[in-house]
């Protein structure tokens, strides 16, 4: 029972990441009709925003170490600590959550630049060439990151307060064996918040209404005198931001390295296809579903019966779904059905 609950949490947690990335991917696809293979790279860029911010905060100065008296010793002290003392230390400690505020404008700009600079020329091209172009783009982004940050994973710790584990079982009276890292719980609630925010944004704002109308009938909205192209550019930047903040918060879970994006890309594409191309609720549902399935398949009891199932479960589900229900779990009829 405890194991099942733990795996459920694990799955929700993984699913949160999948759902966030898949959400951005679907946004870009539903509005712009772009199959964006560079979306995983945007996720990775988000994670490296956290790394950069962390590095910026800890720019240090060599200071003579007073505690060692018998020879001259120097230690690196971050400027923030010198200027603000205790406050500085705690700012550095909270680097990862704070870097969200750093990542949002950066990702907005990157998304805007990509869409205006490159991707807008590919709306009228076939999906095959969109895939290939963004695939090339993903390689380029990945290599730039490798050039700047090196090939090794860079550990980016979560704040001290939440780096431990929570004994959830005690809080809910479910026994004492359900212990789960705090940061992962935060990630889960964070992803739910972001997903909710995106949906609310699309549902309750005028901007969102226009975008939804544009998804249904682009030409009509254009004829009503609304500059739909510009809204769609903003939506693309938004999808980049969603991927970016997902990456920022993911950095403490897995130390980011340059092929983090590629690892996630294939999985999220599968998630999007399972959920149904162009369906936002589908992407979120499929993300959580596949995350949970994957973590259950990784349980030892399951592995004993079906060895290797944890490695392929997602792809297996995708194959079955595509064959049985081609438009995906919640796909809209007629969208991309051939």
């Amino acid at each position: 029972m405890d194991a099942i609950l733990l795996q459920l949490l694990n799955g929700l947690d993984k699913g949160g990441a999948y759902a966030l990335i898949a959400l951005g991917l679907t946004l870009a696809f539903g509005t712009l009709g772009i199959v964006n293979f560079a979306h995983g790279a945007l996720f990775m860029l988000g994670a490296f925003c956290a790394v950069t911010f962390n590095k910026l905060l800890t720019i240090s100065k060599s200071v003579k170490d007073e505690s060692i008296t018998f020879f001259d010793a120097y230690k690196e002290v971050p400027y923030l600590e010198i200027w603000w003392g205790e406050t500085g230390t705690s700012i550095i400690d909270y680097a990862v959550p704070l870097s969200i505020f750093f990542a949002i404008p950066v990702m907005l700009f990157i998304g805007w630049a990509l869409e205006r600079g490159l991707i807008q020329y590919f709306y009228k091209r076939s999906h095959a060439s969109q895939i290939l172009f963004t695939f090339g783009l993903a390689i380029v982004i990945q290599e730039i990151v490798r050039h700047v940050f090196g090939a090794n994973p860079i550990p980016t710790p979560a704040p001290d307060v939440v780096s431990g584990s929570a004994n959830i079982g005690l809080y809910f009276g479910l026994g004492e064996n359900i212990i789960y890292p705090w940061w992962r719980l935060i990630y889960l609630s964070f992803s739910i918040c972001v997903i909710g925010a995106v949906f609310a944004f699309l549902k309750f704002t005028t901007f969102g209404m226009v975008v939804r109308a544009g998804i249904q009938n682009r030409e009509m909205v254009g004829l009503l005198g609304i500059n739909i192209e510009r809204r769609f550019t903003i939506v693309f930047s938004l999808s980049a931001v969603v991927a970016g903040v997902a990456g920022v918060m993911y950095a403490p879970i897995v130390p980011p390295d340059f092929h983090l994006g590629m690892d996630f890309l294939v999985l999220t594409f599968v998630v999007v296809v399972v959920g149904g191309m162009g369906s936002l609720p589908g992407a979120v549902a499929a993300g959580f579903l596949l995350g949970i399935l994957q973590s259950f398949a990784a349980m030892n009891e399951v592995k004993e019966i079906l060895p290797g199932i944890d490695q392929i479960i997602i792809y297996l589900v995708a194959v079955i779904v595509l064959l049985v229900r081609p438009r995906g779990l919640m796909g809209v009829k007629g969208v991309f059905e051939d």
Binding site: A128, S129, L132, Q142, E143, V270, Y315, L316
Partner: protein, 377 residues
């Protein structure tokens, strides 16, 4: 065809001035040539973008190495087995994946390839030897070889009835095989089968209305190209008996797509051209290091030299993938027909200009023939 064979077989001679006349890279040229020719049969003719062909390459390699381990060091059974094995895989994969088309087909093939890759790394380690890769060992049974001779000292090398298949002889064997498969693909392109495949690319619905069941054609194209990939994998193992799972990763499929597109999708020679361009520059670019760059820019003043080195080191050595990605973007964006199309465009421009010039002098037809002949050479 005869000219083509001569050109391929004399590669060691005319590649000399380019500094690529050693067997290692020549083998790569022809083996990946086989791979790209096969991929072109699927993507070029039917327009189905598969992201899973690297899996067949991997299957071919593994099968060939197992054949070396269990049966004999002769490459003939190894290659036949690897083609058959990848053919079986391709039938299974194609049967399922071809139920869908467009982007769904791409994702399905991608999913299959990732499944193979993940399995090769995890559960199938007894067969694939996981991360280390499958290698020959002294204790392998090699049943057929044992019938004729005792096990010698050290590791045996791969042979074709006594000829060692590494180095130049390996290149010639692979080259002959490539010429044969190129001939087959030429026949496919010109046959009514090839025409039907092209019709599927142009308009699949209309084909159906005309009363053709497109499925068998697509499936056979898929299986043929899968077998080509398996053959390439088998040849890779024959020239260097080692198989690793990284050959099956989906980025490897991306590379063969790039080769095909760079050269020219749907053309006969395009994929070969793409292979040669990519493998050649990969070889050169990834070998360059900082010191080479410094000596290259030595004529410039120091500050300019350093900044130039800093900029170009982005693109060479480890950064070769960056060049590849940029090339990918550039070709897809500006030259969707590949290098061959670019050459044709240039040729047409020159031709029209020549004709314009000649109209004033009046010897129109002569120059047409002349330029045509020049192009043929």
């Amino acid at each position: 065809m005869a000219i083509f064979s001569v050109v391929v077989l004399t590669m060691p001679l005319w590649m000399q001035p380019f500094g690529a006349a050693y067997p290692d890279i020549l083998q790569k040229f022809v083996i990946f040539g086989v791979f790209a020719i096969g991929y072109n049969i699927l993507f070029g003719l039917t327009g189905y973008l598969s992201f899973g062909h690297a899996a067949f390459l991997g299957v071919g390699s593994y099968t060939a190495v197992w054949s070396f381990k269990l049966l004999t060091m002769n490459i003939v059974p190894a290659i036949i087995l690897s083609v058959v094995m990848s053919g079986i895989f391709a039938v299974a994969m194609g049967y399922v994946a071809l139920r869908r088309s467009g982007i769904y087909f791409s994702i399905l093939t991608l999913a299959f390839a990732q499944m193979c890759y993940n399995l090769a790394y995890s559960v199938l380690t007894p067969i694939t030897n996981g991360e280390t890769g499958l290698q020959l060992a002294k204790s392998d049974p090699r049943i057929i070889d044992r019938l004729f001779s005792e096990a010698g000292e050290g590791l045996p090398s791969t042979t074709l009835f006594g000829i060692e298949t590494s180095g130049y002889s390996g290149f010639y064997i692979s080259a002959v095989i490539m010429i044969i498969v190129f001939y087959i693909s030429l026949k496919i392109f010109n046959s009514s089968f090839g025409l039907k495949l092209k019709a599927i690319k142009a308009n699949q619905n209309r084909m159906r209305y005309l009363g053709f069941n497109t499925k068998p054609y697509l499936l056979s194209a898929f299986v043929i190209s899968g077998m080509y990939a398996g053959l390439a994998g088998g040849l890779l193992a024959a020239t260097d008996p080692l198989a690793g799972a990284e050959r099956m990763q989906w980025t490897a499929s991306g590379e063969v797509i790039l080769m095909t597109i760079l050269g020219g999708v749907g053309t006969l020679f395009g994929p070969l051209l793409g292979v040669i361009i990519i493998k050649y520059f990969e070889n050169i670019f990834s070998a360059v290091n900082q010191l080479d760059l410094h000596s290259l820019y030595a004529i410039f003043p120091a500050w300019l030299e350093n900044s130039l080195v800093a900029i170009s080191s982005l693109f060479v050595g480890e950064g070769w993938h960056m060049t590849l990605g940029l090339l990918f973007m550039f070709v897809v964006a500006f030259l969707p027909g590949g290098v061959l199309e670019g050459l044709q465009l240039i040729y047409k421009k020159i031709k029209t200009r020549l004709i314009k010039n000649n109209k004033s002098t009046g010897t129109d037809t002569d120059t047409k023939q002349e330029t045509g002949a020049n192009h043929g050479e």
